[in-house]
Subunit: 271 residues, 2 copies
Protein backbone atom coordinates (compact mmCIF):
# COMPACT_ATOMS: atom_id res chain seq x y z
CA UNK A 1 0.00 0.00 0.00
CA UNK A 2 2.81 2.38 0.93
CA UNK A 3 4.63 1.64 -2.35
CA UNK A 4 1.39 2.22 -4.22
CA UNK A 5 0.91 5.65 -2.66
CA UNK A 6 4.50 6.71 -3.21
CA UNK A 7 4.61 5.61 -6.83
CA UNK A 8 1.15 7.14 -7.36
CA UNK A 9 2.50 10.46 -6.11
CA UNK A 10 5.54 10.20 -8.35
CA UNK A 11 3.33 9.58 -11.39
CA UNK A 12 1.09 12.49 -10.46
CA UNK A 13 4.07 14.85 -10.19
CA UNK A 14 5.67 13.64 -13.44
CA UNK A 15 2.33 13.90 -15.27
CA UNK A 16 1.75 17.40 -13.91
CA UNK A 17 5.21 18.53 -15.03
CA UNK A 18 4.57 17.11 -18.53
CA UNK A 19 1.20 18.85 -18.74
CA UNK A 20 2.66 22.16 -17.61
CA UNK A 21 5.49 21.96 -20.13
CA UNK A 22 3.18 20.71 -22.93
CA UNK A 23 4.41 21.20 -26.51
CA UNK A 24 7.41 19.20 -27.60
CA UNK A 25 8.17 17.75 -24.17
CA UNK A 26 4.71 16.23 -23.90
CA UNK A 27 4.99 15.22 -27.56
CA UNK A 28 8.19 13.26 -26.89
CA UNK A 29 6.74 11.73 -23.73
CA UNK A 30 3.62 10.58 -25.59
CA UNK A 31 5.80 8.99 -28.25
CA UNK A 32 7.79 7.00 -25.69
CA UNK A 33 4.71 6.06 -23.66
CA UNK A 34 3.01 4.81 -26.86
CA UNK A 35 5.92 2.55 -27.67
CA UNK A 36 5.91 1.19 -24.13
CA UNK A 37 2.12 0.81 -24.16
CA UNK A 38 2.10 -1.11 -27.44
CA UNK A 39 4.85 -3.33 -26.09
CA UNK A 40 2.72 -4.23 -23.07
CA UNK A 41 -0.37 -4.75 -25.23
CA UNK A 42 1.48 -7.11 -27.57
CA UNK A 43 2.99 -9.00 -24.62
CA UNK A 44 -0.56 -9.69 -23.45
CA UNK A 45 -1.47 -11.12 -26.87
CA UNK A 46 1.45 -13.53 -26.72
CA UNK A 47 -0.17 -15.17 -23.71
CA UNK A 48 -3.11 -15.92 -26.05
CA UNK A 49 -0.72 -17.34 -28.64
CA UNK A 50 -1.24 -14.36 -30.92
CA UNK A 51 2.04 -12.81 -32.07
CA UNK A 52 1.79 -9.20 -33.26
CA UNK A 53 4.83 -7.61 -34.89
CA UNK A 54 6.42 -5.04 -32.58
CA UNK A 55 8.93 -3.65 -35.15
CA UNK A 56 6.07 -2.70 -37.50
CA UNK A 57 4.35 -0.91 -34.62
CA UNK A 58 7.54 0.96 -33.69
CA UNK A 59 8.04 1.93 -37.35
CA UNK A 60 4.45 3.02 -37.81
CA UNK A 61 4.25 5.08 -34.62
CA UNK A 62 7.63 6.65 -35.37
CA UNK A 63 6.39 7.69 -38.80
CA UNK A 64 3.18 9.05 -37.21
CA UNK A 65 5.12 11.31 -34.84
CA UNK A 66 7.79 11.96 -37.48
CA UNK A 67 5.40 13.32 -40.09
CA UNK A 68 3.64 15.29 -37.36
CA UNK A 69 6.90 16.84 -36.23
CA UNK A 70 7.94 17.74 -39.77
CA UNK A 71 4.49 19.00 -40.71
CA UNK A 72 3.13 22.45 -41.06
CA UNK A 73 1.55 24.00 -37.95
CA UNK A 74 3.99 22.26 -35.68
CA UNK A 75 2.44 18.85 -35.27
CA UNK A 76 -1.16 19.18 -36.10
CA UNK A 77 -1.32 16.91 -39.05
CA UNK A 78 -4.64 15.40 -38.13
CA UNK A 79 -6.06 18.35 -40.03
CA UNK A 80 -5.26 20.74 -42.80
CA UNK A 81 -2.46 20.37 -45.30
CA UNK A 82 -0.87 17.40 -43.63
CA UNK A 83 -4.01 15.32 -43.38
CA UNK A 84 -3.40 13.54 -46.68
CA UNK A 85 -0.26 12.15 -45.08
CA UNK A 86 -2.26 10.99 -42.11
CA UNK A 87 -4.58 8.88 -44.25
CA UNK A 88 -1.59 7.64 -46.25
CA UNK A 89 -0.07 6.64 -42.91
CA UNK A 90 -3.12 4.57 -42.04
CA UNK A 91 -3.03 2.89 -45.45
CA UNK A 92 0.71 2.16 -45.28
CA UNK A 93 0.42 0.85 -41.73
CA UNK A 94 -2.32 -1.59 -42.60
CA UNK A 95 -0.50 -2.73 -45.75
CA UNK A 96 2.67 -3.35 -43.71
CA UNK A 97 0.68 -5.41 -41.22
CA UNK A 98 -0.87 -7.46 -44.03
CA UNK A 99 2.47 -8.04 -45.75
CA UNK A 100 3.62 -9.47 -42.41
CA UNK A 101 1.48 -12.49 -43.37
CA UNK A 102 3.70 -13.30 -46.35
CA UNK A 103 5.70 -15.73 -44.23
CA UNK A 104 2.58 -17.80 -44.46
CA UNK A 105 3.80 -20.93 -42.66
CA UNK A 106 4.76 -19.00 -39.55
CA UNK A 107 2.02 -16.42 -39.27
CA UNK A 108 -1.73 -16.16 -39.01
CA UNK A 109 -4.29 -13.40 -39.68
CA UNK A 110 -4.70 -12.82 -35.93
CA UNK A 111 -1.04 -11.72 -35.74
CA UNK A 112 -1.64 -9.03 -38.36
CA UNK A 113 -4.96 -7.94 -36.95
CA UNK A 114 -3.53 -7.59 -33.45
CA UNK A 115 -0.70 -5.48 -34.87
CA UNK A 116 -3.20 -3.17 -36.59
CA UNK A 117 -5.36 -2.96 -33.47
CA UNK A 118 -2.41 -2.18 -31.19
CA UNK A 119 -1.08 0.56 -33.45
CA UNK A 120 -4.46 2.29 -33.73
CA UNK A 121 -5.79 1.65 -30.21
CA UNK A 122 -2.59 2.55 -28.37
CA UNK A 123 -0.46 4.54 -30.84
CA UNK A 124 -3.05 6.58 -32.71
CA UNK A 125 -5.41 7.11 -29.77
CA UNK A 126 -2.62 8.26 -27.45
CA UNK A 127 -1.23 10.57 -30.14
CA UNK A 128 -4.23 12.85 -29.58
CA UNK A 129 -2.83 13.88 -26.19
CA UNK A 130 0.31 15.14 -27.93
CA UNK A 131 -1.85 16.86 -30.55
CA UNK A 132 -3.91 18.70 -27.92
CA UNK A 133 -0.68 19.87 -26.29
CA UNK A 134 0.28 21.54 -29.57
CA UNK A 135 -3.04 23.29 -30.30
CA UNK A 136 -2.58 27.05 -30.34
CA UNK A 137 -4.63 28.62 -27.57
CA UNK A 138 -6.23 25.34 -26.53
CA UNK A 139 -3.29 23.33 -25.24
CA UNK A 140 -4.46 23.85 -21.66
CA UNK A 141 -7.15 21.28 -22.49
CA UNK A 142 -4.52 18.58 -21.86
CA UNK A 143 -5.60 18.96 -18.23
CA UNK A 144 -9.14 18.01 -19.20
CA UNK A 145 -7.79 14.71 -20.52
CA UNK A 146 -6.43 13.93 -17.08
CA UNK A 147 -9.45 15.29 -15.21
CA UNK A 148 -11.86 13.14 -17.22
CA UNK A 149 -9.63 10.09 -16.83
CA UNK A 150 -8.61 10.33 -13.18
CA UNK A 151 -11.34 12.35 -11.46
CA UNK A 152 -13.90 9.94 -12.91
CA UNK A 153 -11.96 7.02 -11.48
CA UNK A 154 -11.53 8.56 -8.06
CA UNK A 155 -15.00 10.00 -7.60
CA UNK A 156 -16.55 6.76 -8.88
CA UNK A 157 -14.49 4.89 -6.30
CA UNK A 158 -15.69 6.99 -3.38
CA UNK A 159 -19.29 7.18 -4.60
CA UNK A 160 -19.18 3.41 -4.96
CA UNK A 161 -17.82 2.90 -1.44
CA UNK A 162 -20.51 5.08 0.13
CA UNK A 163 -23.56 4.48 -2.04
CA UNK A 164 -22.72 1.44 -4.20
CA UNK A 165 -25.55 -1.08 -4.37
CA UNK A 166 -26.40 -2.15 -7.92
CA UNK A 167 -23.67 -4.01 -9.80
CA UNK A 168 -22.97 -2.51 -13.22
CA UNK A 169 -20.70 -5.05 -14.93
CA UNK A 170 -20.65 -8.14 -12.71
CA UNK A 171 -18.69 -10.19 -15.23
CA UNK A 172 -16.12 -7.71 -16.52
CA UNK A 173 -15.37 -5.72 -13.40
CA UNK A 174 -17.40 -7.00 -10.44
CA UNK A 175 -16.73 -4.12 -8.05
CA UNK A 176 -18.25 -1.41 -10.24
CA UNK A 177 -21.72 -0.15 -9.35
CA UNK A 178 -24.20 2.16 -11.09
CA UNK A 179 -24.08 4.47 -8.06
CA UNK A 180 -20.31 4.67 -8.43
CA UNK A 181 -20.63 5.41 -12.16
CA UNK A 182 -23.14 8.19 -11.46
CA UNK A 183 -20.85 9.61 -8.81
CA UNK A 184 -17.95 9.46 -11.27
CA UNK A 185 -19.87 11.44 -13.87
CA UNK A 186 -21.17 14.04 -11.41
CA UNK A 187 -17.78 14.48 -9.76
CA UNK A 188 -16.09 14.95 -13.12
CA UNK A 189 -18.63 17.50 -14.31
CA UNK A 190 -18.11 19.52 -11.10
CA UNK A 191 -14.30 19.42 -11.24
CA UNK A 192 -14.37 20.20 -14.99
CA UNK A 193 -16.64 23.17 -14.34
CA UNK A 194 -14.32 24.45 -11.61
CA UNK A 195 -11.34 24.00 -13.89
CA UNK A 196 -13.14 26.04 -16.55
CA UNK A 197 -14.05 28.70 -14.00
CA UNK A 198 -10.44 29.20 -12.92
CA UNK A 199 -8.50 28.57 -16.12
CA UNK A 200 -10.79 28.85 -19.16
CA UNK A 201 -13.46 31.38 -18.35
CA UNK A 202 -14.69 31.47 -21.95
CA UNK A 203 -15.31 27.74 -22.02
CA UNK A 204 -16.95 26.80 -18.71
CA UNK A 205 -19.91 25.12 -20.40
CA UNK A 206 -17.62 23.38 -22.89
CA UNK A 207 -15.58 22.07 -19.96
CA UNK A 208 -18.68 20.70 -18.25
CA UNK A 209 -19.88 19.03 -21.47
CA UNK A 210 -16.42 17.53 -21.92
CA UNK A 211 -16.59 16.42 -18.30
CA UNK A 212 -19.87 14.61 -18.96
CA UNK A 213 -18.84 12.93 -22.23
CA UNK A 214 -15.30 12.32 -21.02
CA UNK A 215 -16.41 10.64 -17.78
CA UNK A 216 -18.60 8.20 -19.68
CA UNK A 217 -15.99 7.39 -22.34
CA UNK A 218 -13.35 7.13 -19.61
CA UNK A 219 -15.28 4.27 -18.00
CA UNK A 220 -15.55 2.57 -21.38
CA UNK A 221 -11.79 2.95 -21.73
CA UNK A 222 -11.24 1.35 -18.35
CA UNK A 223 -13.65 -1.51 -19.08
CA UNK A 224 -12.14 -2.13 -22.53
CA UNK A 225 -8.72 -2.61 -20.97
CA UNK A 226 -10.28 -4.91 -18.34
CA UNK A 227 -11.87 -7.03 -21.08
CA UNK A 228 -8.61 -7.39 -22.99
CA UNK A 229 -6.76 -8.36 -19.83
CA UNK A 230 -9.46 -10.83 -18.88
CA UNK A 231 -9.35 -12.44 -22.31
CA UNK A 232 -5.57 -12.49 -22.30
CA UNK A 233 -5.65 -14.10 -18.87
CA UNK A 234 -3.45 -11.47 -17.21
CA UNK A 235 -4.09 -9.26 -14.19
CA UNK A 236 -2.04 -6.26 -15.27
CA UNK A 237 -0.46 -5.24 -18.56
CA UNK A 238 2.87 -4.67 -16.85
CA UNK A 239 4.64 -3.99 -13.57
CA UNK A 240 6.58 -0.88 -14.47
CA UNK A 241 4.87 1.29 -11.86
CA UNK A 242 5.01 -0.42 -8.46
CA UNK A 243 1.46 -0.99 -7.23
CA UNK A 244 -0.12 0.43 -10.39
CA UNK A 245 0.77 -2.11 -13.07
CA UNK A 246 2.02 -0.98 -16.46
CA UNK A 247 1.65 2.09 -18.62
CA UNK A 248 -1.58 0.81 -20.15
CA UNK A 249 -3.08 0.00 -16.75
CA UNK A 250 -2.58 3.60 -15.73
CA UNK A 251 -3.51 5.25 -19.01
CA UNK A 252 -6.30 2.98 -20.27
CA UNK A 253 -8.87 5.75 -19.85
CA UNK A 254 -6.63 8.41 -21.38
CA UNK A 255 -6.60 6.42 -24.64
CA UNK A 256 -10.33 7.12 -24.93
CA UNK A 257 -10.62 10.59 -23.38
CA UNK A 258 -7.78 12.23 -25.36
CA UNK A 259 -9.34 11.71 -28.83
CA UNK A 260 -12.83 12.68 -27.62
CA UNK A 261 -11.49 15.95 -26.20
CA UNK A 262 -9.32 16.61 -29.25
CA UNK A 263 -12.28 16.24 -31.62
CA UNK A 264 -14.51 18.26 -29.31
CA UNK A 265 -12.02 21.14 -29.47
CA UNK A 266 -11.43 20.88 -33.21
CA UNK A 267 -14.87 19.95 -34.53
CA UNK A 268 -17.28 21.45 -31.96
CA UNK A 269 -15.44 24.48 -30.57
CA UNK A 270 -13.73 24.83 -33.95
CA UNK A 271 -10.19 25.65 -32.88
Amino acid sequence: MKTRIISGAVIAVVTAVLLILKGWVLFAACYLLSLMGVYEFFKGFRVMNINPCYPIAVGSITVLYGIAALGKNGVDFLRGDMSGWMMAWLFATVVACLLYLFKIEKRKPEDSMATITGIVYVGFFFYHLAAIGMLDGYSIFVWMVMITAFVTDTSAYFAGVFFGKHKMTPVISPKKTWEGAAGGVIGTIIVSGLFGLFFMNDHIVDCMIIGLIGAVISMFGDLTASIFKRKMGIKDYGNLIPGHGGILDRFDSVLFTAPVIYYYIVLVIGA
Copy 2:
Protein backbone atom coordinates in the same frame (compact mmCIF):
# COMPACT_ATOMS: atom_id res chain seq x y z
CA MET B 1 -15.06 -21.56 -69.41
CA LYS B 2 -17.79 -20.01 -71.55
CA THR B 3 -19.59 -18.69 -68.45
CA ARG B 4 -16.33 -17.27 -67.23
CA ILE B 5 -15.74 -15.35 -70.44
CA ILE B 6 -19.30 -14.03 -70.63
CA SER B 7 -19.39 -12.88 -67.04
CA GLY B 8 -15.89 -11.44 -67.45
CA ALA B 9 -17.14 -9.39 -70.38
CA VAL B 10 -20.18 -8.21 -68.41
CA ILE B 11 -17.94 -7.07 -65.54
CA ALA B 12 -15.62 -5.28 -67.96
CA VAL B 13 -18.53 -3.39 -69.53
CA VAL B 14 -20.12 -2.48 -66.20
CA THR B 15 -16.76 -1.34 -64.83
CA ALA B 16 -16.09 0.74 -67.93
CA VAL B 17 -19.49 2.44 -67.68
CA LEU B 18 -18.87 3.24 -64.00
CA LEU B 19 -15.44 4.67 -64.79
CA ILE B 20 -16.81 6.80 -67.63
CA LEU B 21 -19.62 8.17 -65.47
CA LYS B 22 -17.31 8.66 -62.46
CA GLY B 23 -18.48 11.15 -59.81
CA TRP B 24 -21.54 10.25 -57.78
CA VAL B 25 -22.38 7.11 -59.78
CA LEU B 26 -18.98 5.59 -59.09
CA PHE B 27 -19.24 6.88 -55.52
CA ALA B 28 -22.51 5.00 -54.98
CA ALA B 29 -21.15 1.87 -56.68
CA CYS B 30 -18.05 1.89 -54.47
CA TYR B 31 -20.25 2.20 -51.40
CA LEU B 32 -22.32 -0.84 -52.38
CA LEU B 33 -19.30 -2.88 -53.48
CA SER B 34 -17.60 -2.12 -50.14
CA LEU B 35 -20.58 -3.42 -48.20
CA MET B 36 -20.63 -6.57 -50.32
CA GLY B 37 -16.87 -6.99 -50.05
CA VAL B 38 -16.87 -6.68 -46.27
CA TYR B 39 -19.71 -9.19 -46.13
CA GLU B 40 -17.64 -11.72 -48.07
CA PHE B 41 -14.55 -11.01 -45.98
CA PHE B 42 -16.44 -11.55 -42.72
CA LYS B 43 -18.04 -14.73 -44.07
CA GLY B 44 -14.52 -16.08 -44.61
CA PHE B 45 -13.63 -15.33 -40.99
CA ARG B 46 -16.63 -17.29 -39.75
CA VAL B 47 -15.08 -20.42 -41.28
CA MET B 48 -12.14 -19.79 -38.90
CA ASN B 49 -14.55 -19.40 -35.98
CA ILE B 50 -13.92 -15.66 -35.82
CA ASN B 51 -17.13 -13.63 -35.77
CA PRO B 52 -16.75 -10.01 -36.86
CA CYS B 53 -19.72 -7.66 -36.47
CA TYR B 54 -21.26 -6.82 -39.84
CA PRO B 55 -23.69 -4.13 -38.56
CA ILE B 56 -20.77 -2.12 -37.13
CA ALA B 57 -19.02 -2.36 -40.52
CA VAL B 58 -22.16 -1.22 -42.37
CA GLY B 59 -22.59 1.66 -39.93
CA SER B 60 -18.97 2.71 -40.14
CA ILE B 61 -18.75 2.57 -43.94
CA THR B 62 -22.06 4.40 -44.25
CA VAL B 63 -20.74 7.16 -42.00
CA LEU B 64 -17.52 7.27 -44.05
CA TYR B 65 -19.41 7.83 -47.31
CA GLY B 66 -22.03 9.96 -45.54
CA ILE B 67 -19.56 12.49 -44.15
CA ALA B 68 -17.77 12.49 -47.51
CA ALA B 69 -21.00 13.21 -49.35
CA LEU B 70 -21.96 15.99 -46.95
CA GLY B 71 -18.47 17.44 -46.84
CA LYS B 72 -17.04 20.45 -48.53
CA ASN B 73 -15.43 19.86 -51.94
CA GLY B 74 -17.92 17.18 -52.83
CA VAL B 75 -16.45 14.12 -51.23
CA ASP B 76 -12.84 14.79 -50.71
CA PHE B 77 -12.71 14.64 -46.99
CA LEU B 78 -9.47 12.76 -46.84
CA ARG B 79 -7.94 16.21 -46.97
CA GLY B 80 -8.67 19.80 -46.08
CA ASP B 81 -11.47 20.97 -43.85
CA MET B 82 -13.14 17.61 -43.54
CA SER B 83 -10.07 15.69 -42.53
CA GLY B 84 -10.70 16.15 -38.82
CA TRP B 85 -13.91 14.19 -39.37
CA MET B 86 -11.96 11.48 -41.12
CA MET B 87 -9.72 10.90 -38.14
CA ALA B 88 -12.71 11.12 -35.82
CA TRP B 89 -14.31 8.44 -37.99
CA LEU B 90 -11.32 6.15 -37.49
CA PHE B 91 -11.43 6.72 -33.73
CA ALA B 92 -15.19 6.15 -33.49
CA THR B 93 -14.98 3.02 -35.66
CA VAL B 94 -12.31 1.43 -33.51
CA VAL B 95 -14.13 2.36 -30.31
CA ALA B 96 -17.34 0.79 -31.65
CA CYS B 97 -15.44 -2.39 -32.51
CA LEU B 98 -13.93 -2.51 -29.01
CA LEU B 99 -17.27 -1.90 -27.31
CA TYR B 100 -18.50 -4.94 -29.22
CA LEU B 101 -16.45 -6.94 -26.69
CA PHE B 102 -18.66 -5.82 -23.82
CA LYS B 103 -20.75 -8.97 -24.18
CA ILE B 104 -17.69 -10.63 -22.79
CA GLU B 105 -19.02 -14.18 -22.49
CA LYS B 106 -19.95 -14.35 -26.16
CA ARG B 107 -17.13 -12.50 -27.86
CA LYS B 108 -13.38 -12.56 -28.15
CA PRO B 109 -10.75 -9.98 -29.15
CA GLU B 110 -10.36 -11.65 -32.56
CA ASP B 111 -13.97 -10.74 -33.39
CA SER B 112 -13.28 -7.07 -32.75
CA MET B 113 -9.93 -7.07 -34.49
CA ALA B 114 -11.38 -8.75 -37.59
CA THR B 115 -14.13 -6.11 -37.66
CA ILE B 116 -11.54 -3.31 -37.53
CA THR B 117 -9.41 -5.00 -40.19
CA GLY B 118 -12.36 -5.56 -42.54
CA ILE B 119 -13.57 -1.98 -42.26
CA VAL B 120 -10.14 -0.52 -42.99
CA TYR B 121 -8.86 -3.09 -45.50
CA VAL B 122 -12.06 -3.30 -47.56
CA GLY B 123 -14.10 -0.19 -46.68
CA PHE B 124 -11.43 2.47 -46.27
CA PHE B 125 -9.08 1.14 -48.99
CA PHE B 126 -11.85 0.86 -51.58
CA TYR B 127 -13.14 4.33 -50.69
CA HIS B 128 -10.09 5.79 -52.44
CA LEU B 129 -11.48 4.73 -55.81
CA ALA B 130 -14.56 6.87 -55.13
CA ALA B 131 -12.32 9.70 -53.95
CA ILE B 132 -10.23 9.63 -57.15
CA GLY B 133 -13.44 9.77 -59.18
CA MET B 134 -14.31 13.06 -57.45
CA LEU B 135 -10.93 14.79 -57.83
CA ASP B 136 -11.26 17.91 -59.93
CA GLY B 137 -9.19 17.54 -63.09
CA TYR B 138 -7.73 14.21 -62.07
CA SER B 139 -10.75 11.93 -62.00
CA ILE B 140 -9.60 10.26 -65.23
CA PHE B 141 -6.99 8.53 -63.05
CA VAL B 142 -9.71 6.05 -62.03
CA TRP B 143 -8.66 4.25 -65.21
CA MET B 144 -5.14 3.91 -63.86
CA VAL B 145 -6.58 2.01 -60.89
CA MET B 146 -7.99 -0.58 -63.29
CA ILE B 147 -4.95 -0.63 -65.56
CA THR B 148 -2.59 -1.30 -62.68
CA ALA B 149 -4.92 -3.95 -61.27
CA PHE B 150 -5.97 -5.81 -64.40
CA VAL B 151 -3.22 -5.24 -66.96
CA THR B 152 -0.72 -6.47 -64.38
CA ASP B 153 -2.75 -9.61 -63.89
CA THR B 154 -3.19 -10.30 -67.58
CA SER B 155 0.31 -9.51 -68.76
CA ALA B 156 1.79 -11.46 -65.85
CA TYR B 157 -0.36 -14.40 -66.92
CA PHE B 158 0.87 -14.40 -70.50
CA ALA B 159 4.49 -13.66 -69.60
CA GLY B 160 4.28 -16.54 -67.14
CA VAL B 161 2.86 -18.92 -69.73
CA PHE B 162 5.58 -18.12 -72.26
CA PHE B 163 8.65 -17.47 -70.11
CA GLY B 164 7.74 -18.67 -66.60
CA LYS B 165 10.48 -20.75 -65.00
CA HIS B 166 11.35 -19.65 -61.47
CA LYS B 167 8.60 -19.98 -58.89
CA MET B 168 7.98 -16.78 -56.93
CA THR B 169 5.66 -17.81 -54.10
CA PRO B 170 5.47 -21.61 -54.16
CA VAL B 171 3.49 -21.79 -50.93
CA ILE B 172 1.02 -18.94 -51.29
CA SER B 173 0.29 -19.08 -55.01
CA PRO B 174 2.24 -21.88 -56.69
CA LYS B 175 1.63 -20.88 -60.31
CA LYS B 176 3.28 -17.44 -60.04
CA THR B 177 6.77 -17.03 -61.46
CA TRP B 178 9.35 -14.23 -61.34
CA GLU B 179 9.25 -14.06 -65.15
CA GLY B 180 5.49 -13.56 -64.99
CA ALA B 181 5.87 -10.84 -62.36
CA ALA B 182 8.47 -9.03 -64.49
CA GLY B 183 6.17 -9.30 -67.51
CA GLY B 184 3.31 -7.92 -65.42
CA VAL B 185 5.32 -4.89 -64.39
CA ILE B 186 6.67 -4.19 -67.88
CA GLY B 187 3.27 -4.66 -69.53
CA THR B 188 1.63 -2.31 -67.06
CA ILE B 189 4.27 0.38 -67.52
CA ILE B 190 3.78 0.22 -71.30
CA VAL B 191 -0.03 0.35 -71.15
CA SER B 192 0.11 3.12 -68.53
CA GLY B 193 2.46 5.13 -70.74
CA LEU B 194 0.16 4.68 -73.74
CA PHE B 195 -2.81 5.72 -71.63
CA GLY B 196 -0.92 8.84 -70.59
CA LEU B 197 0.04 9.55 -74.20
CA PHE B 198 -3.55 9.46 -75.39
CA PHE B 199 -5.47 10.83 -72.43
CA MET B 200 -3.14 12.72 -70.08
CA ASN B 201 -0.41 14.25 -72.17
CA ASP B 202 0.87 16.34 -69.25
CA HIS B 203 1.36 13.31 -67.07
CA ILE B 204 2.94 10.57 -69.21
CA VAL B 205 5.86 10.08 -66.85
CA ASP B 206 3.55 10.14 -63.83
CA CYS B 207 1.44 7.47 -65.50
CA MET B 208 4.47 5.27 -66.08
CA ILE B 209 5.65 5.70 -62.49
CA ILE B 210 2.15 4.85 -61.30
CA GLY B 211 2.26 1.84 -63.63
CA LEU B 212 5.48 0.64 -62.02
CA ILE B 213 4.43 1.16 -58.38
CA GLY B 214 0.87 0.08 -59.07
CA ALA B 215 1.89 -3.18 -60.75
CA VAL B 216 4.02 -4.18 -57.77
CA ILE B 217 1.42 -3.23 -55.16
CA SER B 218 -1.25 -4.92 -57.27
CA MET B 219 0.56 -8.24 -56.93
CA PHE B 220 0.82 -7.71 -53.19
CA GLY B 221 -2.92 -7.06 -53.14
CA ASP B 222 -3.56 -10.30 -55.01
CA LEU B 223 -1.25 -12.32 -52.75
CA THR B 224 -2.72 -10.79 -49.59
CA ALA B 225 -6.17 -11.97 -50.61
CA SER B 226 -4.72 -15.41 -51.44
CA ILE B 227 -3.18 -15.63 -47.98
CA PHE B 228 -6.41 -14.72 -46.24
CA LYS B 229 -8.33 -17.28 -48.29
CA ARG B 230 -5.72 -19.93 -47.62
CA LYS B 231 -5.85 -19.27 -43.89
CA MET B 232 -9.63 -19.21 -43.92
CA GLY B 233 -9.63 -22.49 -45.80
CA ILE B 234 -11.76 -21.22 -48.70
CA LYS B 235 -11.08 -21.14 -52.42
CA ASP B 236 -13.03 -18.00 -53.26
CA TYR B 237 -14.54 -15.24 -51.15
CA GLY B 238 -17.86 -15.66 -52.93
CA ASN B 239 -19.66 -16.90 -56.00
CA LEU B 240 -21.50 -13.77 -57.06
CA ILE B 241 -19.74 -13.54 -60.41
CA PRO B 242 -19.95 -16.88 -62.25
CA GLY B 243 -16.45 -18.17 -62.90
CA HIS B 244 -14.79 -15.24 -61.11
CA GLY B 245 -15.72 -15.77 -57.47
CA GLY B 246 -16.91 -12.88 -55.35
CA ILE B 247 -16.43 -9.13 -55.33
CA LEU B 248 -13.23 -9.41 -53.32
CA ASP B 249 -11.78 -12.06 -55.62
CA ARG B 250 -12.18 -9.68 -58.52
CA PHE B 251 -11.17 -6.48 -56.76
CA ASP B 252 -8.43 -7.71 -54.41
CA SER B 253 -5.77 -5.76 -56.31
CA VAL B 254 -7.92 -2.63 -56.59
CA LEU B 255 -7.97 -2.40 -52.79
CA PHE B 256 -4.23 -1.79 -52.91
CA THR B 257 -3.83 0.16 -56.16
CA ALA B 258 -6.60 2.74 -55.51
CA PRO B 259 -5.02 4.25 -52.36
CA VAL B 260 -1.52 4.24 -53.87
CA ILE B 261 -2.77 6.15 -56.91
CA TYR B 262 -4.88 8.50 -54.81
CA TYR B 263 -1.90 9.45 -52.63
CA TYR B 264 0.36 9.72 -55.66
CA ILE B 265 -2.04 12.25 -57.19
CA VAL B 266 -2.58 14.19 -53.99
CA LEU B 267 0.85 14.07 -52.37
CA VAL B 268 3.26 13.75 -55.31
CA ILE B 269 1.50 15.50 -58.19
CA GLY B 270 -0.15 17.78 -55.62
CA ALA B 271 -3.70 17.94 -56.99
